[in-house]
């Protein structure tokens, strides 16, 4: 898709119906987030791979954001092998039984819902920023001991990496903050909008799923286009050595990267071959370091073009240099599979026995318990 990222979504993901869905002020007080931010409690099993019949129980409490009618957005991390999911609003009070509507581990995103009408009363959806601006004041928010904690964060950079749950790679926002103990889907906010969800922390560095990336997936889910993240399964190397490009007889300006390894596929002949020079992906020029210029993020490594508004099975238009001339080829993105550690247990119990992980499945949740209110 050759459309710039920030222009792809003219329509916000927010929903026009219901109270509180109207336009907001450019900036709001941190306390205003109390109606958008909820807690997601996940009870899960952890496997002992040395004694596979042994299952340890773990409970994690994550942050969740209301993004639409009966939809709480959170990261997928920690939702595998779950036995019970509950929601809490306002940072205190009762827990409401819930289920996972869908979880996508390669993208590290999930939507949680509840059939209990009372839970949704008084909540209002958050707005995802589009695009993320480097110069904005960013804060991290989370519920802590019944109070909303707000901590300052600073923009560091955009990177492209994978969130450790598949081979898929995508753009990430790196923030610097003094806050500790985050990485469980805490929202990063700028003014009245959410710029991302924190999914990892290393010292003062926070890794954040940026809101445009989140929005692209939510939007595709809504339209039924989402087929999971894809990735480039070939291996390339930079072409900063001009002799290499001379050896491969590239004409004109030095550019592109060199494909060095292409996996064998039984069913289809590979589109790329070793020693092809990859010049463009979906119209984006690739430089000799393997970067392209993204309108939303600046210089990013070309891998991001495998997840930039594209899904598994989608075509990517590649321009390559082969046999002494430029050629256009169409590359189908293979589907990024879940990491091995996420292989589910066959004996899943609890609410999710109702197959909530399928985005197309109907949501049917039985409330298991109602905490005293």
């Amino acid at each position: 898709m050759n459309v710039r990222f920030i222009h792809c979504f003219a329509v916000l993901l927010l929903f026009g119906s219901g109270p509180g869905f109207g336009s907001e002020a450019a900036k709001k007080a941190p306390g205003d987030w109390e109606r958008e931010l909820v807690s997601v409690e996940v009870h899960r099993k952890q496997y002992d791979y040395f004694q596979p019949w042994t299952k340890h129980v773990q409970t994690v409490v994550k942050a969740g954001l209301l993004i639409g009618p009966r939809e709480i957005l959170t990261t997928a991390d920690g939702l595998d092998n779950r036995t019970l999911v509950r929601l809490q609003k306002g940072g205190r009070g009762p827990w409401w039984s819930a289920g996972v509507k869908w979880a996508d581990y390669p993208a590290n995103l999930a939507v949680v819902t509840s059939t209990d009408e009372k839970f949704w009363a008084g909540l209002k959806p958050a707005t995802l920023a589009e695009p993320v601006k480097k110069e904005e004041e960013i804060q991290i928010i989370r519920w802590r001991a019944g109070n909303l904690e707000v901590r300052k964060a600073e923009f560091s950079r955009f990177t492209v990496s994978h969130p450790n749950m598949s081979d898929a790679v995508h753009v990430q926002l790196e923030l610097s903050s003094e806050i500790d103990g985050v990485g469980w889907s805490e929202p990063a906010i700028a003014g009245s909008k959410v710029v991302g969800l924190v999914f990892s922390q290393c010292g003062n560095q926070l890794q954040v799923l940026p809101s445009p990336f989140i929005r692209s997936i939510l939007d595709a889910q809504k339209k039924g286009h989402y087929k999971g993240l894809g990735y480039f399964d070939f291996t390339w190397q930079p072409a900063e050595n001009p002799e290499t490009l001379d050896y491969l007889k590239l004409e004109g300006e030095k550019r592109g990267v060199v494909v060095i390894d292409v996996p064998d596929k039984r069913d289809t002949a590979p589109v790329l071959r070793p020693r092809d020079i990859l010049l463009q992906v979906d119209g984006f020029d690739v430089d000799t370091q393997g970067d392209y210029v993204d309108a939303g993020y600046g210089h990013l490594v070309l891998e991001n073009l495998s997840t930039r508004n594209k899904w598994a099975g989608d075509p990517a238009r590649l321009k390559i240099w082969r046999d002494g001339r430029a050629q256009d080829v169409v590359y189908r993105l293979p589907k990024a599979e879940d990491a091995a550690r996420l292989v589910p247990d066959g004996g899943r119990i609890g609410n999710d026995a109702l197959h909530f992980d399928s985005p197309t499945s109907e949501v049917r949740i039985q409330r298991r318990s109602v905490p005293p209110s």
């Binding site: 290499t244 060095i260 070793p274």
Partner: protein
């Protein structure tokens, strides 16, 4: 003397021990000035190192010590007991596998008045032994006493990939004792050689069977080394497996699990053979033999043979006993995974690219934690491919050890320590292939391919050839190759 596990001498209070021959007079202090090569810049040497160790006089006007005391020696000085005069010595025989060496002294008057020490038998566990030597902490000879704690096969750290019979004692271990004699009843029953960091009261010495094997080996004027059968056995105590192999229900026999690529062994021994006897030693179901009252690995029985000899084996095969005469020879196939000595590392420098064979010594240039920082391909190639994928094993895997920066290679993005796959289309099986592939091509570009993923770099051939002399001069490389 290296900083490995250093040897010590057990002290002894001689009161009442009645050393009529005063064995301490035959214990020698050895000063070694050594230089080791730099394995990732193989034309260079580390600074000269001064170290000290111990030794003792044996018959034939020779001094026995450890190989690691005199390895890479540029000069060896020996001192007699309480004699300030240094004498020049040189290595006559050195056995890196079993960490023993014999020195001779240029001035034979050195031996005047010195009684050669005689060797005893393998000491008994719990018996008392005394070590003599010149450990750190003072100038004079030192004695320590301890008991024999246990006897079994241990890895010999000097070679790094060989295990031989070893005696453990509770004597304290200090650097400088290496090579000193361990004495019992006026007879030498061992050569102190290594300790184990982190353990207290634990020292090790080389026992007489290993020493005698070394001395017998050199009778022909050269040291050949301990032969290897190349047979790996595993315990065979599972009753079901024993019944499957129709073995008697007793405690004898260990199953052959894998073989090294040694022609005689591969011809005569089969997987799933059950090893019942090696020489005069019965092999127990846990893979051990009873060696002079000590239960040790069956490898000790194989090590009784000299190279070129044949060792009688009894194996259980297809439901009956079979006698085999197995020729025993020295195995060199795992040389690269042990510490190497005496032979300077091979290399070839071309356009600033330094190529050298992959070896344990090279890997250690990555630092103490090299196992953590080395890439998986190097580890696999060095340790596992030979057994896991013998058909694709290279005779001598070659790495790009380092890059001497020059404009001709300035844009290289391949990191050093990469395993070389092909150069100009030629599969690199050994270092000579690197030279041949660079020097035989007439293409405009050299193409160097690496493992894994077929990553490659290119050099303009004309530029590379023009740069060669300048690179060598700039970095002080005396010759572009040592093959």
């Amino acid at each position: 003397m290296s900083n490995k596990f250093l040897c010590l001498v057990l002290n002894v209070v001689l009161a009442g021990s009645g050393f009529a021959a005063e064995p301490e007079r035959s214990v020698i202090q050895i000063m070694t000035f050594s230089q080791q090569p730099v394995w990732d810049a193989p034309w260079r040497f580390d600074p000269v190192r001064r170290s000290s160790g111990s030794g003792f006089v044996i018959k034939g006007k020779r001094i026995m010590t450890n190989a690691h005391v005199v390895s890479w020696a540029k000069q060896i000085l020996v001192h007699r007991y309480q004699d300030p005069r240094p004498y020049l010595a040189r290595v006559k025989f050195i056995a890196h596998d079993c960490d023993l060496a014999l020195l001779e002294v240029e001035d034979e008057s050195f031996f005047n008045g010195l009684e050669p020490l005689r060797f005893g038998d393998l000491p008994k566990v719990r018996s008392t032994v005394v070590t003599h030597g010149y450990p750190a902490g003072g100038e004079q000879i030192s004695y320590t006493r301890g008991v024999v704690s246990r006897i079994e096969l241990q890895n010999y750290v000097h070679s790094g990939n060989r295990a031989f019979l070893t005696v453990q004692t509770d004597a304290a271990i200090n650097p400088g004792n290496s090579g000193g004699p361990v004495v019992q009843d006026d007879l030498v029953v061992g050569v102190a050689f290594q300790g184990m960091p982190g353990l207290e009261n634990t020292g090790f010495f080389i026992p007489p069977p290993v020493i005698h094997h070394f001395l017998k080996d050199i009778e022909d004027g050269r040291y050949g080394g301990f032969p290897m059968a190349g047979i790996r056995v595993v315990p065979l105590q599972n009753p079901a497996y024993r019944r499957y192999l129709r073995l008697p229900d007793n405690d004898l026999g260990a199953r052959v699990d894998s073989l090294l690529p040694i022609a005689a062994t591969e011809k005569l021994i089969q997987l799933d053979d059950v090893l019942l006897r090696v020489g005069k030693y019965e092999v127990a179901s846990d893979g051990t033999v009873l060696y002079e009252g000590n239960r040790v690995s069956a490898s000790a029985a194989f090590q009784t043979a000299q190279r070129g000899e044949s060792l009688p084996l009894k194996v259980w095969r297809q439901g009956k006993e079979t006698d085999i005469s197995l020729p025993m020879n020295v195995y060199e196939g795992d040389r690269s995974v042990g510490n190497q000595y005496d032979v300077l590392p091979r290399y070839f420098v071309y356009a600033g690219l330094v190529f050298t064979p992959l070896s344990l010594d090279y890997m250690k240039t990555l630092g103490q934690g090299w196992r953590d920082v080395a890439n998986a391909e190097l580890i696999y190639e060095l340790y596992y491919r030979r057994s896991e994928a013998p058909d694709s094993t290279r005779t001598e895997p070659v790495v790009l050890a380092s890059t001497l920066a020059h404009s001709v290679n300035a844009n290289f993005k391949i990191s050093n320590h990469a395993l070389v796959d092909k150069i100009n289309g030629v599969r690199i099986d050994k270092l000579e292939d690197v030279v041949r592939s660079f020097e035989s091509t007439t293409n405009t570009h050299h193409v160097i391919e690496f493992v894994p993923n077929h990553a490659f770099e290119t050099l303009n051939r004309a530029d590379a050839e023009a740069a060669q002399a300048e690179v060598l001069k700039t970095y002080g490389v005396p010759k572009d190759r040592r093959l």
